[in-house]
Symmetry: C2
Subunit: 436 residues, 2 copies
């Protein structure tokens, strides 16, 4: 069969990786897809700059609109990142009747509802496997592999930079800022690492995962997001003493008041598989009826793993060329007229267990006061550790593990704890999940 | 749209689970698939026996051929197990122009080449996601999610009973026979547990995984298979002392002389994710270019997880109804005219590291003899442990870890070791893999 003609927007890390992959594995891909996939037109900001891929046979331009308007192109691969320009180009490509494949999580999380509506109108496919967890085929697993399931919750390590930082803090005992600087040197973290460490990148991905899991529209603005910037080496160490590891998780779960969507540091029991996903690797655990827990692990970023996902989408789109849109896999897993308006549960109504650390004066009766306040707030304590005071310190660290409690109750208890004269500063709070 | 009409062969564990799932999650499935899926005709060996599912609205028969010949049926789900009758029914269903979904790994491993040839001739789909690793969407991940990759190797815990036994030996210190008896009581193992503990079931699954990973025909008879019946509690304990866990793995890897296909007990470093997959759970690790290592984890058996995979296949088949066969996902991932005749490497040409245990007389010079023999065979030693003799014992256990060596070299060295007067009995050999 004739080669499929593809246009690429952006020849940076992922764009270059995609060009290289289609060239290097051309034979394997053709044997599976039944026909070759050729990149024939590409837009790069600086078309004359040296790059990581060969551009032989590719028409190069600096004008991305030239690619989306090229009548020869059947599929546009959007790899420029950012959200506004990417959105504009994607909508124009769709308007021109082209299928789209993208690795852009921000664009899908923020503008996906609009993009899918337009794509539905024009009858084209939009693939976004590369937008979540890089090379792990997690979109495919949830949308298709678990199609018979009612999904109860999912929880994932979906930002490699954050996981690299937490892993180094644990095994090398290094401080947050120190590891972050190294991640930037190694090219894992962005120059502005806000998206990684504050959880915004993870929230984009969680938004997408939650939509395809629960059949709800994309609602990025409703994700509760906490970063890892406040995690200290002490917390990592105390968590380890208690048999836990700290991971930055995105969690989507059916709660009493709707679907809870949250990104925050989380203590996980050390024997959990997710607790053992280290370095820049990603993993997503999904708990569903009837399959039970399943987990998907792999590289969450980087040119090559992301290119793997882009090519998987390209082949899927090619296979669907002649399929009527209503028989394709729906963009958000559920057919649009069946999307649910189930509310997003406010964080105050979410139930989790807690790790608490407070600095208390080293004198009798403090522990009695602390436990009284928690008990009166209806919070059960699972474990308490009171450390020895450091030489010359006037306070001792007290670490508590609680049973599950409503967020609102914990807020009120912490206010009271912080008001105690014997407690100095604020209470450090980290949620605990057993994922059972 | 009209409901899809499905016939089921077999209303045992998985059949009952599938009927229940389609009923319980009917709303979720319809919202995703776009149309309901109805089981309208089912064959059971004893149609009047009480069962785990409701059969309201299902025409029941004891004659499976009546279902495959029913002109109303669009998809036949084969869940009777075994291989000969299942093969006959499947071929007849295909001959009648029906699509087939099966959970039958023995049938696919032994007769898949014939079945897919017939299906290609008749232009029908054959889904077999449920045949490997139960509810884990591993067939989909490898065939579609990694479509752009050149797969280097895969390794999996793909028999839940065997993994349950090894896990209990490790954590509860119980002997093989004791745990096996419990697995049978709990219904994990078959009454005749040969398929589980001798690795035949795992070899069926590995045959299928290797075909879709490497684009080779199904070749069950070429899989090298070793069971776990010889694993002693001592080996489990010594492995742990050395920082390893013993798992029963199926491994398919590109070797110098072709593709190596083998099922055997394996020492894995304890920090490996696969080493931490416990109990009846399954997991498959795939290493591929460009995605790198990915891992897929979940329940490998049982009515509900297997039903999850059956329904995923049903929905895929329904979506493909109107697709020309050449645009469907090929049965064995690669289009049939592109299947490769790459040879299967004989076990003698496979390279692995080894754990060796021998019983030696407690006298000077024995270790020197042992290390001399290994050194002369070109085998490098990574670690040696010589245990204290048990009270009254005339031998001491000597445990060695070697570096990677050609199987043929190890065979010759072991013959020499066993010929030593100071070495009693035979040498226990277990392969070691680092999966890196």
């Amino acid at each position: 069969m004739d080669p499929v003609k593809v246009g690429v927007l952006g020849l940076g890390t992922v764009g270059g990786g995609t060009v290289n992959l289609l060239e290097r594995n051309r034979d394997e891909i053709t044997r599976r897809a039944g026909r070759p996939i050729d990149i024939v037109h590409a837009a790069a900001r600086h078309p004359d700059r040296p790059r990581t891929c060969s551009t032989d046979g590719i028409r190069l331009t600096y004008d991305a609109f030239e690619v989306v308007d090229d009548p020869d192109i059947e599929i546009v691969v959007e790899l420029i990142g950012g959200d506004e320009l990417a959105r504009e180009l994607t909508l124009r490509a769709i308007d021109n009747g082209k299928h789209v494949v993208t690795a852009n999580k921000a664009m899908i999380a923020l503008h996906g509802n609009e993009i899918f509506a337009k794509a539905r109108e024009k009858g084209v496919s939009v693939g976004f496997e590369a937008a979540v967890a890089g090379g792990i085929p997690i979109i495919k697993a949830v949308r298709e592999g678990l199609v018979g399931n009612r999904i109860e919750w999912l929880a994932g390590i979906i930002n490699g930079t954050g996981n690299f930082i937490l892993t180094e803090m644990l095994y090398a005992g290094r401080a947050f800022g120190d590891v972050l600087a190294e991640a930037q040197r190694l090219g894992y973290a962005e120059a502005d690492p806000t998206f990684d460490v504050e959880g915004i990148d993870a929230a984009h991905k969680l938004t997408i995962l939650a939509s395809i899991a629960f059949g709800i529209p994309l609602q990025f603005d409703k994700v509760y997001t906490e970063g890892i910037g406040q995690i200290s080496i002490e917390d990592v160490t105390y968590a380890q003493e208690l048999g836990f590891r700290i991971k930055h998780l995105g969690i989507a779960r059916r709660e009493a008041d709707g679907i809870g969507l949250r990104v925050h540091p989380t203590l996980l029991p050390e024997r959990q598989l997710l607790a053992n996903v280290d370095g820049v690797m990603n993993a997503v655990m999904v708990n569903a009826d009837p399959v039970g827990p399943t987990l998907y692990y792999g590289a969450g970023a980087g040119a090559e793993p992301t290119a793997s996902a882009v090519v998987a989408d390209l082949v899927d789109v090619v296979r669907e060329f002649t399929l009527e849109p209503e028989n394709r896999v729906p963009y958000l897993a559920f057919h649009s007229h069946f999307l649910s308006d189930e509310p997003i549960a406010p964080i105050e109504s979410v139930n989790t267990a807690y790790y608490l650390r407070l600095e208390a004066q080293d004198e009798p009766g403090v522990l009695a006061e602390v436990t009284r306040i928690l008990s009166e707030a209806g919070i059960s304590i699972e474990a308490i550790i009171q450390k020895q005071p450091a030489a010359g310190a006037e306070t001792v660290p007290v670490i508590l593990l609680t049973h599950r409690v409503l967020e609102a109750q914990m807020n009120s208890a912490c206010t009271q704890l912080e008001a105690l004269e014997q407690v100095h500063g604020s209470v450090t709070r980290i949620r605990v999940e057993t994922l059972a």
